[in-house]
């Protein structure tokens, strides 16, 4: 109460609260003051007591942005998607009876190999309908996540960078280090080639191509190129992706799926 009200509408609402006799409807006793204010605000703004409670949406979305964060917390400047958020969400989606499909939206620069592959494997083994949409970028470890779904889309302007795994700044001196990295790389290559139409030869060729990237080897695939190489299924945006997701849901659960129009 000592705090001065911050928003003008709160001032209005609170001044009304001071004269409870004029309240137009009865308040159940258990409602918190904040809830009461919200109810009053709804009455004022929308002419109704409560906004309708949202029904359980049969299609959920998973947004994967920035760096994919694994076992090590990255400095706060990095925008990250944490696997401890994504994995429980995917478990909840798998267990939910109301949820029928997941739209995965990617705009990522890559990140931790283990975390990325874990998310990709979770999506791949999900029994629900899944569609991915690459917007902006789906680079490095974003590639296996993009191909892990039932069907994949890429925006026309979106890019995917395919490049070899490396430890920046570390000299690969001993054969064991090289072999370890090679194994990690093979995990990524195997996953991508198993879940998309691209061949292993083609993917390796793109990965080690020289001349495309400044000071590095690899390839940048823009929209159409990603589809032409067989990595992604189709060019499209949000409406195409949602339409495809609804189609897959219908195939999996029958045409009478509730709430899908």
């Amino acid at each position: 109460m000592e705090n001065p009200p911050q928003f003008p509408e709160k001032v209005l609402v609170e001044s009304e609260n001071e004269s409870p006799s004029e309240e137009p409807f009865e308040q159940p006793l258990r409602q918190s003051p904040r809830k009461q204010r919200l109810v009053l605000q709804n009455l004022k703004n929308l002419g109704q007591l409560n906004t309708p409670t949202p029904i359980e949406n049969p299609l959920h979305t998973l947004i994967i942005i920035g760096q994919i964060e694994g076992h090590m917390i990255l400095p706060p400047k990095n925008k990250t998607t944490k696997y401890e958020h994504i994995i429980p969400q995917l478990v909840a989606i798998e267990q939910s009876k109301a949820i029928k499909g997941v739209l995965v939206i990617l705009n990522t620069v890559g990140g931790d190999v283990e975390a990325g592959l874990a998310i990709a494997e979770m999506l791949e083994s999900l029994s629900k309908a899944t569609v991915s949409l690459v917007l902006g970028g789906g680079h490095s470890i974003g590639v296996p996540i993009a191909v892990s779904t039932n069907y994949s889309f890429i925006a026309e302007t979106a890019t995917m960078t395919i490049h070899p795994l490396r430890l920046t700044g570390m000299v690969v001196g001993v054969p064991q280090t090289y072999e370890y990295l090679d194994k990690m790389q093979d995990r990524v290559i195997k996953f991508v080639t198993n879940h998309s139409k691209i061949t292993e030869e083609r993917f390796r060729e793109l990965m080690f191509r020289t001349g495309d990237l400044l000071r590095d080897i690899g390839t940048v695939l823009v929209g159409k190129d990603a589809v032409a190489s067989g990595l992604i299924d189709e060019i499209g945006g949000i409406s195409q992706a949602l339409k495809k997701l609804e189609e897959i849901v219908e195939l999996k659960y029958g045409a009478t799926s509730r709430g899908l129009q």
Binding site: M72, P75, P76, I93, G111
Partner: protein
């Protein structure tokens, strides 16, 4: 940890050295669970919590005016 990313490690870890200087700013974010949703919030100097990010897979949560980034809890 092996990072497979197009961002150079120097860029990712640039801040770790400066972190000690920035600690005094007190604008640290933390996560809370509210009504089954995960919220990334920031403690304001006034003692209130401001929502910085909502983490949910239900698209309708993002339409709820209570969970909009920037709103005060």
């Amino acid at each position: 940890m092996v990072l497979y990313t197009i961002v150079s490690l120097e860029t990712i870890f640039e801040e770790t050295m400066m972190a000690e200087f920035l600690n005094s700013a007190g604008t640290e974010e933390f996560e809370i669970d509210l009504s089954g949703k995960k919220l990334v919030v920031q403690l304001l100097s006034s003692g209130q919590l401001q929502i910085n990010r909502l983490i949910s897979t239900n698209p309708s949560d993002y339409l709820n005016p209570d969970w909009q980034p920037g709103s005060i809890l």
